[in-house]
């Protein structure tokens, strides 16, 4: 384990009453990135975030934030002091007004950014004298985001930040994140089950399935390396055993053979051509396809 990463987990496991929520998760999040933590509901995203923030103890393995052990109490206090966090529930005090909520939160954070507070109150068009309980879901998200962004944090951890928001509101939230990262030195780690928003703003991604990372990497590398190779034969497609590495999945259907490759499509192509197909097609693969191919279907 090293300090080169803002977040690093190694073979992280977390069981709850015999249920394995996280099963050997290894992640490395570099500083300055927008890291999308993509997975279906129940894949282990929230549990992982809880471990990172010291709200749950790992059953085994390691989790470090800023190089500090997330399960040590002192370290965890420091981690939380340097991290802005928005939970999926957007926990706020319903009986306060928006302004009271901001004035209540600010003194807890010595590096509170009054300039950003002004900017986001204005940008988000937050109604300062409205009670939190009377806020729409979108406004509630924006207020929670404002409270996290103004702390002067180095790391922002967001659990499903856009869940339940309409497309326009989602775009506003994503834009605020992009704009914040462009002007402040910070790292954003956000969980999501919305492939499109990860595609849009993330530069790194981990696809998590049943508590394990099934794909990790720079999004551009995934886009450049993943390929779908489709071979059509005169008769029934053969059952080839590809020797080249990078073959993720091979599907045979009648005269068609489809190969999903994660890397080295060239070498797979060489082998494929030797099978004498009547046509060969190579097409880029979208993040959505990668997700659907690597994540297990409903039990």
């Amino acid at each position: 384990m090293s300090d080169r990463f803002v977040i690093e987990t190694a073979d992280l496991r977390k069981n709850y009453d015999g249920v394995e929520a996280v099963r050997g998760l290894s992640l490395q999040v570099s500083g300055g990135s927008i890291y999308g933590f993509l997975g279906r509901n129940g894949a282990g995203k929230t549990t992982t975030i809880k471990v990172l923030l010291g709200m749950a103890r790992p059953t085994s393995g390691h989790a470090r934030v800023f190089g500090l052990p997330a399960d040590a109490e002192d370290a965890s206090v420091e981690i939380r002091g340097r991290t802005g966090f928005v939970s999926e529930e957007k926990e706020l005090y319903d009986y306060m007004t928006v302004e009271e909520m901001i004035r209540f939160t600010a003194p807890f954070f010595p590096r509170w950014r009054g300039d950003l507070e002004q900017r986001y109150v204005h940008k988000f068009e937050l109604p300062l004298d409205r009670k939190v309980k009377a806020l729409s879901r979108g406004m509630r998200t924006k207020l929670a985001l404002l409270l996290a962004l103004c702390r002067g944090a180095e790391l922002l951890i967001l659990d499903e930040p856009t869940s339940g928001l309409d497309p326009a509101m989602t775009e506003e939230v994503l834009q605020a994140l992009v704009s914040h990262v462009a002007s402040e030195e910070m790292t954003v780690f956000f969980s999501s089950h919305q492939i499109a928003e990860v595609d849009q703003i993330a530069d790194h991604v981990a696809i998590i399935d049943r508590g394990r990372a099934v794909v990790t990497g720079a999004l551009d590398d995934l886009r450049e390396n993943f390929r779908r190779i489709q071979l059509v034969f005169d008769g029934d497609a053969p059952e080839p055993a590809f020797r080249a590495p990078g073959v993720v999945r091979v599907r045979r259907k009648g005269r068609v053979l489809t190969v999903l490759s994660s890397a080295g499509a060239e070498r797979i192509l060489d082998e494929a051509r030797a099978l004498n197909p009547v046509s060969v097609d190579v097409v880029p693969v979208t993040l959505k396809e990668i997700f659907l191919e690597t994540v297990t279907a409903e039990d």
């Binding site: 300055g32 990135s33 927008i34 775009e171 994503l174 834009q175 992009v178 704009s179 990262v181 462009a182 002007s183 492939i195 499109a196 595609d199 849009q200 703003i201 993330a202 530069d203 999004l219 551009d220 590398d221 886009r223 450049e224 390396n225 993943f226 390929r227 890397a263 080295g264 499509a265 060239e266 192509l269 060969v280 097609d281 190579v282 097409v283 880029p284 693969v285 979208t286 993040l287 959505k288 396809e289």
Partner: protein, 132 residues
């Protein structure tokens, strides 16, 4: 100049931005010496990662197509290299146009032509060839 990357197309967004800048120069929408939008405003406008915009600009600078002037922003290069690229692309465009005409004459639809081009590009492109 309008940039319109499609984040879900499977093609890296920085490559799409690079293509759009090159196309802008080729069509004359961007002129030599003209200033490109800053990284932050462009990331905000397109709602994409600022690192992606920065990467596209760095690669374009590396190819001699734009110049990054410290503190002042990004400008379309006024050097011969940018012009040469324009001539090269103009010649390429003529070849593509001729090929398209032939294909259409044979009854190949535009959608099919697009797929053929994409398949050809994906098949020939060296995987990972654009990495830094």
């Amino acid at each position: 100049m309008m940039f319109r990357p499609n984040p879900s197309s499977g093609v890296p967004i920085y490559l799409q931005l690079m293509e759009q800048v090159k196309h802008g120069i080729e069509t004359g929408a961007l002129r030599p010496g003209e200033q490109l939008p800053g990284i932050r405003p462009l990331a905000e406008e397109l709602v994409i990662n600022p690192n992606t915009v920065a990467k596209a600009y760095r690669e374009l600078e590396h190819e001699g197509i734009i110049e990054l002037r410290h503190g002042a922003g990004a400008f379309v290069s006024a050097t011969a290299r940018a012009k040469k690229l324009t001539d090269k692309l103009r010649a390429g465009q003529a070849i593509v146009a001729a090929a398209m005409e032939k294909l259409r004459a044979r009854g190949v639809t535009d959608e099919e032509i697009r797929r053929l081009f994409e398949a050809e590009l994906a098949g020939l492109a060296k995987p990972g060839g654009h990495r830094e």
